[in-house]
Amino acid sequence: MLRKLIHILFLPCSKATLLMEKRNAQLISRKEDRQLSMHLKICKWCRAYEEKLKILDDILKRKRSHKENIEINDSDIQSFKNKVLNKLDI
């Protein structure tokens, strides 16, 4: 109950999770950053969520580099094929 009261007074979880997005993009104000840190100290739910966000963030970021690798390989193959074709013409 006390926890709930603190949440309402300080920062509701719905707002805290929004601030996490801002912090993630490094576009959070100092005041908001302090608020969020305070909130995370007392709220285990948001702590758990933040943990998962980090994992998700990491996965999504690496997913991109995974994809890029594949794309680069494809274009490499294509350019290689073109080279071979060019040489065959000559």
Binding site: A25, L60, R62, R64, H66, K67
Partner: protein
């Protein structure tokens, strides 16, 4: 124009305009992003699903090599409504910075945070239900 077809063409024109209006309205209005699914009226978490332990620390590196996980992750992203999916994809897969994304999509910064927040909430839940809960 034949006399017979007139009432029908007239009605068709009305229907067309109505449909166009409907979509115009739908796309012009700022998206209402409701968090009711996750938070109660005081803004606290509705359920404890978020507390599930993902236990990824040591397996994290090979999650992306796992085809099943990739499939689920992609499905989860595809399940998001288009208006949330596009910002998320721009943000992550194209590595765009937040101001660029909101400028390109013509949405306010505040709205972009809300979209990202909402879609990640859903992504988190989707992965929790479809992957981590089944490990």
């Amino acid at each position: 124009m034949k006399e017979k077809s007139q009432p029908l063409t007239w009605l068709n024109a009305i229907l067309n305009r109505k449909a166009a209006d409907f979509y115009r309205k739908k796309y012009k209005s700022e998206p209402q992003i409701s968090l009711d699914h996750f938070f109660d009226e005081t803004g606290s978490w509705k359920n404890d699903g978020v507390l599930n332990d993902w236990n990824v620390s040591e397996k994290e590196t090979d999650l992306l090599d796992n085809d099943d996980f990739n499939k689920i992750l992609e499905d989860c992203i595809e399940d998001l409504p288009a208006r949330w999916k596009i910002p998320l994809k721009m943000y992550y897969l194209q590595e765009k910075k937040a101001p660029e994304v909101s400028q390109e999509l013509q949405i306010s910064a505040t709205n972009l945070w809300k979209v990202l927040q909402r879609s990640r909430m859903q992504l988190r839940e989707c992965l929790d239900n479809n992957w981590f809960a089944k490990l």
